[in-house]
């Protein structure tokens, strides 16, 4: 597959849109990087780093998606810390965060923007 360059980001294809299930995540491998992609209830797609900073395990894509006070979140399946899907910030330990990736759907494909 080929990557498209746009607004300084390199858009890598991740998967087809139909592989995303509402309120669940999938893991995507882009070179060395592991990205967790989620589809929320409102149809929005979010992409954050897949590595849980508290355990070091690459598992955030397997966490439970939900919301805290209206903010879309995922809870790490290891020690259950909750992360804001928009900002990557850990809501239980605000000094910790995970990377956030640009993500979009193009022609039925989910693409992730890498710097």
């Amino acid at each position: 597959m080929t990557a498209t360059i746009d607004a300084g980001l390199r858009w890598e294809p991740a998967c087809t849109v139909d592989r995303l299930m509402p309120e669940r995540g999938v893991a995507v491998l882009l070179g060395e990087q592991q990205v967790a992609v989620f589809l929320t209830h409102d149809g929005a797609v979010h992409a954050i780093g897949n590595i849980d900073p508290f355990s070091g395990a690459a598992v955030l894509s397997r966490g439970l998606v939900g919301d805290r006070a209206g903010v879309a979140t995922v809870a790490s399946p290891v020690y259950k810390q909750v992360f804001d899907l928009q900002t990557g910030r850990c809501l239980d330990e605000p000094t910790v965060s995970v990377p956030v990736y640009a993500v979009r759907a193009r022609g039925g494909t989910i693409q992730i923007g890498l710097p």
Binding site: C15, Q34, S55, L64, G66, D67, V78, V82
Partner: protein, 835 residues
């Protein structure tokens, strides 16, 4: 310009300094190197004793920071301080230059110079490594084939000595505490309290000898003998010295820095030593000549130094040197706070001593009886949390009434705004009230935003009072998305016939759910029989264990447990499991529930592993679910000379009947073939023990954090009646228990307790037994193996991939090393750098 800060000691206080500095150093003025003697990341030493009760080292670990400004070198103590060169040298020979040096080396246990103190079997009680060694020695002595109790001698009857003795008792030894002073906890407790304390301690199976010292330890016939000053000799398998601590000030002494009269690196109110580039904090520091053996003053010192390093002007205040303490020992309540020994000139003491109730309370007040100065509570320390913050404040009521049984209840409103609610983290009432005002409406939220209650936890009752006073109701709401308890949600789902989370949250809740309510609703839906747990929308409700029908382990791999009903397995079955484990490179271990756990399976391997297991006739063991786990059994009449019933046959029948049953928490069971109880049935949620006439049914047992013995619910039942009563018991539990409530606490919280439970499920007092039995029959009828369900469904199988764009590429962060001939995970991505 970035300056170099070197912190010597990675204990509680050093850790606090580093966190405080990282948080506040917004201009990146400092680069921090921490040098620690212990191999482990910093941990909660205050909670050390909980380690013997099963709290893991990971759970005790203090939050680890990853930050480019921080490096941590563990297992490499500093051996020399060269102040002229501004450098330190470590045992491994590293030399580090510093602009500022902080000594946070804590204390070491004092061991009196008695002969034999170095013999194998003698220990101190300070670090996790000490506890590992003690636990190993205790286990080894218990394993020795000789009759009689194993015993331990604890030298020192202070706070730590009593904690150590309690820990030794938990490890199965009979401890004797030897205290040189005439009473236990002489530093904290006065004579009156000491007498009662001794009674309470002795009634919790610890023997006490006060007013004698240990003269020497010797070895006889492989055991230790402690000779006491009064001529008595005590046999011991383990000796623990807990006779006080000494500040670890050797580095400073050798570098020519002044130390306090009784040791400790001398520092001023800024926590600075005589050398302007060297600071000392925590237990190793002698603040204006005095050392402090508690964590709260140490934390305050860390905050002062963090501020000073950033050019602030903080100093230590007397209030931060609070020496209040509470004994953390189940069943023995002791607390002392403020000027407990009435040393303030003119201080008056008010004592209420009730030997019948077993309580002793003393308040120390100023000469005009207007101000509270301190106090001692023994037998009932429930007032500690409200009294301690009142030290130094005007008395809100008559002091006798404040401690007399049935006297005035001091509300949180009596506390002045400046009172420290949490002395460990120096949080005032004003700060807590401000946080409540800003929306922290429960204890976890208050902990998160103020840090109050996060260390020793003794202030949590006051936090609750402050919440109540602020009009915040402590609701039974499941989470922010549902105002209902789990039992109420169960009624709603059962009554309305709702089958999806979306519909439930739209009609009865708010938002989109979270990791608390989603699995709880998933469990309710499953208990009510809504098909496969991964069907349709239900898949998105499951915790990762249920979502992948396997148990997530620390490195992101899973463990696999096929069901082995009653622990009975054929040689062919064992061979299949062995072959699968060998072919997929899995680590195998026998579980406590009489089955085999295979660890290290990657998510994309799970279907292939289960294909082999299912083909060989195995089914899911639900080790991943809040569901029935196992029914353990002994061999019973089939083989055993003593058996009176067929325990294996019953265990297999029960396990097959209740397999796949989802519940508020896991359910374990066991069946023993006679009263000798080899299957340990009484440690289970429901346990069955054979009698000459049938079966006795016990309920509400569990192991874990708070072990409980199951209690007798009904006796001499025939097999059919037994199964009917278990059906009703389990269904009643599933319908009415809270989320994550085991049967023991469910019964305890029930009004009327076990008697009420018996009335409902044996005597049918509510007339619901037929209904409960019908619900169980429906479960049994609808059961289908979950793993077979996945293997037969392409859509469900498609979820079992490592990466959606590289389905068979293993997660590159997972790797294994071989230990004792088996693969075990390589620890991944831990922040601390180890040498």
């Amino acid at each position: 310009m970035t300056s170099e800060l070197v912190v010597v000691g990675n204990g509680m206080v050093g850790h606090r300094l580093v966190s405080a500095l990282l948080d506040r150093d917004t201009t990146h003025a400092w680069r921090i190197t921490v040098l620690g003697e212990e191999e482990r990341p910093a941990y909660d030493r205050v909670a050390l004793s909980s380690y013997v009760d099963g709290t893991t080292a990971e759970q005790l670990t203090l939050p680890e920071r990853t930050d480019p400004r921080l490096r941590t070198w563990l297992g490499d103590p500093v051996v020399e301080l060269d102040r002229a060169a501004r450098s330190v040298r470590t045992a491994s020979g590293r030399v580090l230059r510093y602009d500022a040096l902080v000594l946070a080396t804590g204390s070491f246990p004092f061991v009196p110079p008695v002969p034999g103190r170095d013999l194998p079997g003698c220990f101190v009680y300070r670090t996790l490594d000490d506890l590992d060694a003690i636990m190993e020695a205790a286990e080894a002595s218990i394993a020795e084939p000789r009759p009689g109790r194993r015993s331990a001698v604890v030298v020192g009857g202070g706070l730590l000595g009593l904690e150590a003795a309690r820990a030794l008792r938990s490890l199965g030894l009979s401890p004797q505490v030897v205290e040189i002073a005439p009473r236990l906890m002489p530093v904290q407790v006065d004579e009156g309290g000491g007498a009662l304390l001794r009674r309470l301690v002795e009634s919790s199976e610890l023997a006490v000898r006060c007013g004698v010292s240990v003269a020497g330890i010797s070895q006889e016939r492989g055991r230790l003998v402690a000779a006491l000053s009064d001529g008595i000799e005590l046999d011991a398998d383990v000796v623990v010295f807990s006779a006080g601590i000494r500040p670890a000030d050797a580095l400073a002494r050798a570098a020519g820095l002044p130390v306090g009269e009784r040791g400790g690196v001398l520092v001023d109110a800024r926590c600075r030593t005589q050398d302007p580039n060297v600071w000392a904090i925590g237990e190793c520091a002698a603040l204006e000549g005095r050392t402090y053996g508690l964590v709260a003053p140490g934390y305050a010192m860390a905050e002062v130094v963090a501020d000073r390093l950033l050019d602030g002007s903080a100093t230590m205040t007397p209030a931060e040197l609070d020496m209040s303490t509470q004994l953390k020992m189940l069943g023995v309540d002791v607390a002392s706070f403020g000027d407990a020994h009435a040393t303030t000139p003119g201080a008056l003491e008010v004592v209420v001593n009730d030997p019948v109730a077993g309580t002793y309370a003393k308040l120390v007040v100023s000469d005009d009886a207007q101000t509270l100065l301190g106090g001692v509570l023994v037998g009932d320390a429930s007032k500690y949390a409200t009294l301690r913050p009142l030290v130094g404040a005007p008395l809100p009521a008559d002091p006798v009434a404040m401690i007399a049984p049935g006297g005035v209840e001091i509300g949180a409103d009596a506390l002045p705004g400046t009172a420290q609610i949490c002395s460990c983290n120096a949080v005032t009432k004003d700060a807590v009230c401000a946080a409540i005002h800003d929306g922290a409406h429960d204890v976890p939220a208050l902990k998160a935003c103020t840090a109050a209650g996060t260390s020793c936890g003794s202030c949590v009752p006051v936090l609750k009072k402050l919440l109540a006073q602020a009009g915040v109701e402590q609701s039974t709401a499941l989470c922010e998305h549902f105002a209902h308890s789990r039992a109420e949600l169960f009624e709603i789902v059962a009554g309305t016939g709702i089958t999806t989370f979306s519909e439930l949250v739209e009609r009865h809740g708010t938002g989109r759910g979270c990791d608390i309510c989603k699995p709880a609703v998933a469990s309710i839906l499953a208990s009510l029989g809504n098909g496969h747990v991964l069907a349709g929308e239900q898949a998105a409700l499951q915790d990762t264990n249920d979502a992948f029908l396997a148990n997530l382990q620390r490195n992101g791999t899973y463990s696999v447990v096929p069901r082995i009903p009653g622990g009975e397995v054929t040689p062919d079955g064992l061979i299949t499991i062995g072959e699968v484990a060998r072919d997929f490179g899995l680590y195998t271990k026998i579980t406590g529930g009489q089955r085999i756990d295979m660890f290290g399976a990657r998510v994309e391997q799970l279907p292939a592993i289960w294909r082999r297991l299912v083909d060989a006739g195995f089914e899911s063991g639900h080790a991943y679910g809040k569901a029935l786990r196992t029914v353990k059994s002994c061999v019973g009449t089939t083989w055993c000379r003593f058996g009176v019933q067929d325990s294996v046959g019953l265990a297999v029948a029960l396990e097959l009947r209740y397999r796949g049953l989802r519940a508020p928490h896991k359910i374990k069971s066991g069946v023993s073939g006679c009263a000798r109880e080899c299957a340990e049935a009484r440690s289970k949620d429901f346990g069955v023990i054979a009698t000459e006439n049938g079966w006795n049914l016990y309920v509400g047992g569990n192991g874990g954090f708070t072990p409980r013995h199951a209690e007798l619910l009904a006796s001499d039942l025939d097999t059919d009646t037994l199964i009917a009563v278990i059906d009703r018991f389990l269904m009643f539990y599933i319908r009415t228990a809270d989320r994550l409530q085991r049967t023991a606490s469910w019964i305890e919280a029930m009004e009327g307790g076990l008697d009420h439970l018996r009335a409902v499920v044996v005597e049918d007092s509510l007339g619901i037994c037929a209904d409960l039995e019908a619900a169980m029959d429906a479960h049994v009828g609808n059961y289908a193996d979950e793993w077979r369900g996945v293997l037969e469904d392409e859509e469900k199988l498609a979820r079992f991939v490592s990466f959606v764009n590289a389905p068979d590429t293993p997660d590159p962060t997972i790797s294994f090393v071989t230990e004792r001939g088996q693969p075990v995970p390589v620890p991944i991505g831990l922040p601390a750098v180890r040498s």
